[in-house]
Amino acid sequence: MLLQLSVILLQTPPAAGSSQVESGFNFVIAAYAVVWILVFGYIYTLNRRQARLRRDIQTLQAEENERKQQLNSNQEQS
């Protein structure tokens, strides 16, 4: 079945001799490249923004914990 599928997939693009520009094959490749560049580009920016916010939260959380510890130690001393 896999062999049959690979044969179909190999036969589907225009044959080597035919004009790929004429058949529109190159345009399909270009359009799909645009789709994937945009998809991965957007996911990358989303991920980068999330990572930055995660870092901010960690920094603020550490700051808050430090403050709480300091407050506790001050209370113990007094």
Partner: protein
């Protein structure tokens, strides 16, 4: 920052689990990947169109991307109405997420359409009614995003966005019906009435319809996935603001 009152949530990536321990977001991710793989497979083996030849395969991503663009702007519109009525932050989150994801899908639709036009019409761009209305729609929503980013006060930002989302949505049905209202344009009417001798209202045959439906499912899953991710990003911003606010209050 002073308006932020929501307490900080320690769980950054909340996992909503149903009975049996199934993580719906992981399930969504896998479903989306499988749908895209199937779409690629079906695109490769789908029959070739007689007129547009191999280039017709662009359609399987071009149409779903444009439909998801409309869906995202509809989410923005719903968020706008919700915010206008309730003034709740959750609607603002839906608005900004819908706006950004809608612009993303509009870019895919215009990008793929432009490349296809180079083959079908021998030009990357022409001021056809559909292309013109889509451009106006994109410019309107980009202006909305810029306006949002330029406003500092959160309540004002959300109110302006809501007004923009409600008024700007007027352009979406104009884009959809532009090919019917101005039939002299180059862009074809996609959803026909079914009485023109074609096998269905899309004018596609057999396996082409299966491929299109698979592409539609894949794009719909990508739309939901991106929308959820974008909403999470906005919630994380709230968490940062809430945490900074509580530290400020303690001082």
């Amino acid at each position: 920052m002073a308006s932020v009152t929501r307490p900080y949530k320690s769980e950054l990536k909340p996992k909503i689990r149903v009975a049996g321990g199934f993580d719906w977001f992981d399930g969504l991710t896998w479903a989306m990947l499988v749908a895209f793989l199937l779409t690629f497979l079906f695109v490769a083996i789908a029959p070739t169109d007689e007129t547009l030849k191999y280039s017709q395969r662009i359609f399987y991503f071009h149409l779903p991307a444009n439909i998801m663009c409309f869906a995202a702007f509809f989410a923005y519109f719903v968020g706008g109405i919700g915010y206008w009525r309730t003034r709740q932050r959750k609607w603002d989150i839906l608005m900004v997420s819908g706006l950004e994801v809608g612009i993303f899908f509009a870019a895919i639709g215009i990008g793929t359409g432009s490349i296809w036009a180079r083959y079908a019409w021998n030009t990357f761009w022409t001021w056809d009614p559909r292309l013109t209305t889509v451009t106006i729609m994109l410019v309107v929503y980009l202006a909305g995003l810029m306006l949002r980013n330029a406003t500092e006060d959160p309540a004002r930002k959300a109110a302006l966005s809501a007004a923009f989302g409600i008024i700007g949505f007027i352009d979406v049905p104009i884009v959809f019906f532009s090919t019917r209202w101005f039939p002299r344009g180059l862009h074809p009417v996609i959803f026909l009435n079914g009485d023109n001798g074609n096998t269905n209202t899309l004018g596609l045959e057999g396996f082409m319809v299966v491929t299109l439906i698979t592409g539609m499912v894949a794009m719909a899953l990508l739309f939901v996935w991106l929308l959820v991710q974008r909403m999470r990003l906005e919630k994380m911003r709230d968490d940062v603001a809430a945490l900074a606010y509580s530290i400020q209050e303690e001082n």
